[in-house]
Symmetry: C2
Subunit: 201 residues, 2 copies
DNA sequence: AAAAAGATACCGACTGGTCGGTATCTTTTA
DNA sequence: TAAAAGATACCGACCAGTCGGTATCTTTTT
């Protein structure tokens, strides 16, 4: 059971998530968030030193869910792992559906705010490192083309993932998931050693 | 020669671009922009009905430069055209360097404002259509794999372009251009009919 | 061609309202 | 009953947009 204090904190976080997602960081005022949480402004500033601090708390929670997803997808071969990763994307972001604009908001804040930038750039580099290692592993096991520049290929994967997510933001594409899979298949075809192997059954 | 009125308008546009780029759309106040332009607030509202209208003027100017770039890259074969397109990317966005966060911010706002949405979504769909046609053309000429889903492949290309640009936003990667080329080569490898053909000399 | 009349461009003080944050007081918890 | 948590009133800064009025350029009239 949560104490009343913990409940208030949770209510504030959830309300902030909702408000940020629907109207954006700037437009969602502290009063706004407090009203949505059914809590006073005094309570807000008791739990968080600033609006930005609450924002960062949300950001970290978000990043942790992504990280934990990464742990779960390891498969037998690297191409299979990459396919599993694609299958993961909709799951991660369907759960946070409607929060996608916030993803952009984070990014934007990061590009202009030193504090947020630190919190954003670190996990980003971690993801990039993750895929670089994965690709090198695929080259070792012989499933991926050996002449690939592993860091560049990693950036390609991460870039494609981000780009697809943004497109989903812009167009309410019903079968976005299908597009994501098709894209990853094209990319895999470009990464893999020989074209006949590793195809879907 | 510009009339005084035209000069004022130009000054406002240039100053707004500078202010939006450095502090963002919301943070750049109208007073701010007027000060940077060396012009009064009255002049501002004489030339533009609102702050948003001025932004749309900037957005359209930028989109036109992209569109004109698209016209210039047509090559002999489709893979060559795609490579030329990649070579174009740095040029387009070096021109708009530092302005990217501002467009991102506006994009975000676009997703919540019906009027702005129209001005933003239209060019995006135009680009997607452009690449869909290009890919179908490549399938006809035999350079691209016939089993490709052309619209999905187009989304992949556009998505990758957007994703790479956003990555560039976060990391001030010195040889981003090289990465972009490597990415496109991987993608091309996944799109093309046979792997031996169409390689760079 | 000079004066009058009108249109366009521009100025800057002002308004009505919002916002993040603080100070102070009250209630709950342990 | 002391400390933690929450409520309320309030502050100073800021901001998009307005408005009455002035300067400058263009057209018409004489």
């Amino acid at each position: 059971m949560q104490t009343r204090s913990e409940e208030t904190r949770t209510h504030l976080l959830e309300a902030a998530l909702r408000r940020f997602a629907s109207v954006g960081y700037n437009a969602a005022s502290v009063d706004d968030i407090c009203a949505a949480a059914g809590v006073s402004k005094g309570a807000f500033y008791h739990h968080f030193p600033s609006k930005q601090a609450l924002f960062l708390a949300l950001l970290n929670a978000w990043l942790e869910t992504i990280d934990s997803g990464f742990q779960a997808v390891r498969q037998e071969t690297v191409p299979e792992t990459l396919r599993a990763f694609t299958g993961l994307l909709p799951a991660i972001f369907a759960a946070a559906d409607g929060h996608l604009p916030m993803f952009l908001e984070f990014w934007l804040q990061a590009s202009r705010d030193e504090t947020v930038w630190q919190a954003t750039i670190a996990p980003y580099q971690r993801y990039q490192q993750y895929f670089t290692t994965l690709i090198q592993q695929g080259q070792t096991e012989g499933s991926l083309r050996p002449e690939l520049d592993a860091p560049a290929a990693a950036k390609t994967i991460v870039g494609l993932a981000i780009g697809l997510l943004l497109q989903r933001l812009l167009t309410d594409d019903a079968n976005w998931e299908k597009t994501a899979h098709a894209s990853m298949e094209i990319l895999l075809h470009g990464l893999m050693q020989n074209d006949s192997s590793g195809e879907k059954p």
